[in-house]
Symmetry: C2
Subunit: 339 residues, 2 copies
DNA sequence: TTGTAGGCGTTATCAG
DNA sequence: CTGATAACGCCTACAA
């Protein structure tokens, strides 16, 4: 039974003032152990639950945080965001805080504005950083507490990220180290910060090993199947050793394209992905990749935001939570033949 | 700028009472066009936004709805839920209502209870129906407004569903009609209503065509890779014509298993899926399946709930929104050879 | 058409 | 240690 009793009812029933009850609940202010216990027992028995929004009204808080999810079809279904969400609720729920979602489609921040201006949440988590980040810009100029998942140049902005640079770098080094020197890179939308980070990792790995990436082998903004097809054909002509895909989705697409073009993996060319996910779990052959722990990321983002809402000072942070998976898709052709 | 002005500030500035301002905003009560316009202009200029929770406190409403998402790993990332969510917000946002998510893991309803008992939302959407539905039972006995996505035997429960029965039935009929008479069925968790519905569709299709499904070819509760492997091997021995998978995920798994067992699709056996999604979009070969429109489903669920919260009478409903995709994975072996 | 006063459920202030 | 009393921001009889 969801009780509809109020703090007044309790006060009446117990013959004390509501102030006392409130104190017994919040633990603030001095109060005798006896009355505290009396109140506790009554609450327990009648299953009383405070009205959070009434409390919020008195404290200028809502006990809610907002999460901005991208809404574009074909992106929205990446497991990433849902895992993050799960991580966040793990942190917020025990603190009695809840998560409100709002979906942002192609730069339209009206939904975000609504929940902020209507005082529906105490803070915001942005689940993706953009080069032109209207959401972040808006929050920043209004001074509303928020943290972004991702990375930004802006030092004033609180960001939390996975070690994309480190992870992608290490995977790339492994590939280069295994003798795959002519690496092609296929990437997506360059207006996402993450895309640029991955590209930088790609280049840095070469640098570290004293190699030069071939600029002709780099294909960015590959967003539709037609362009995937075109890129794959060209790459095959260019005699690359391996195709590095910036995302799991891209990797899946390319795998399919290769199959229909009768390109064998890993015999004819190798494939690796800068992102591991369940989208790839059924891929044949299994794709080498770098995987992260999104739940942890979401959880950490929530922790940061909660602290920030409390007014504590917080700092941007990068989680070192990646893991490299070397799988069949990048075995050298020779290795395969022998096995 | 997120204003922090209140209705009192406006009243003072305009030299009217806050009642008048309130009326001008809500449109309730008679008020002169002149003052209404005056208030509107002031609000516009100062970008005033009412505090929704204060309003809610006065009206015993929250202008929020809650959505319960499953949290089990490996399920949480199905595109289904995210698409539903997107559909819901499309409906709620224009009504000034927001969506709060709560994650439910293996039957633990404490998170749900929290947001209900703390009066954080006006209603709940359950995104999945279960055979033992603790969430639904809880909501029902407390009388809290909710709707479920899915189907239930309970006539008192408001449900909204896709036409899973019709869709799966039609796909199965198509397969049987194409001469694939020995159909194997691989299904997941039988404690989900959806699983039973799909099985019923499978059997009904046979019935309609005067055929009998072979009980030995039906494999339920296939939840882990080991069991998938076992089922596939047995099915091959049993000389089935086609494997019907109850979910996109299962289909992907089976495709992979077949590949490593060097079973060719569709030459050696055909494969079909009772659910289409982006998980299958990169599958090779493309898998025949039945697809639904989850955004529409989510939107409709939200509409129903909002009506219900308003106290209007609502009824359960099934959307007829499926589409059959016949693709390469179920071409008869002969067709393939000739092509 | 407009204003006054009280209430929604809770916390905070300031006395006792 | 406890209790009035006044906020918090908004709505809504009831009155004018």
């Amino acid at each position: 039974m969801a009780s509809n009793i109020t703090i007044d009812d309790i006060a009446d029933a117990l013959g004390v003032s509501k102030t006392t009850v409130s104190r017994a609940i919040s633990g603030k202010g001095r109060i005798s152990e006896a009355t505290r216990e009396k109140v506790r027992a009554y609450i327990e028995e009648h299953n009383y639950r405070p009205n959070i929004y009434a409390r919020g009204l008195a404290q200028s808080r809502t006990y809610n945080i907002g999460v901005v999810l991208p809404g574009e079809y074909g992106v929205v279904d990446l497991p990433f965001f849902q895992e993050c969400l799960a991580g966040m609720t793990r942190v917020t729920a025990p603190a009695g805080i809840d998560v409100m979602v709002t979906i942002m489609e192609d730069g339209d921040i009206t939904n975000l504005q609504r929940i902020v201006e209507h005082h529906k949440v105490d803070g915001i988590i942005l689940t993706r950083t953009m080069i032109e980040d209207r959401a972040a810009a808006y929050l920043q100029e209004t001074g509303f507490p928020f943290v972004s998942i991702g990375t930004s140049d802006d030092p004033d902005r609180i960001c939390i990220d996975q070690d994309n640079l480190g992870g992608c770098l290490e995977l790339t080094e492994k590939l280069l180290g295994a003798g795959l020197h002519r690496l092609a890179l296929i990437g997506g939308n360059e207006s996402h910060v993450i895309t640029r980070t991955r590209r930088r990792a790609f280049e840095k790995a070469h640098e570290k090993l004293g190699l030069q990436p071939d600029p002709d082998l780099i294909y960015m903004n590959v967003l539709d199947p037609a362009r995937v097809d075109w890129a794959v054909r060209r790459i095959m002509d260019q005699q690359a050793d391996c195709i590095v895909c910036m995302s799991d989705r891209l990797a899946g697409n390319i795998l399919m394209r290769c199959s229909s073009l009768e390109i064998r993996i890993p015999e004819d060319i190798r494939i690796a992905s800068y992102y591991d996910s369940s989208l790839l779990e059924n891929a044949v052959p299994r794709v080498s990749s770098v995987g992260f722990n999104e739940r942890q990321l979401g959880a950490e983002a929530a922790r940061l935001l909660l602290r920030r809402v409390e007014g504590e000072p917080v700092e941007s942070r990068i989680l070192s939570n990646y893991r490299i998976y070397i799988r069949q898709s990048t075995q050298l052709a020779e290795d395969c033949r022998s096995s």
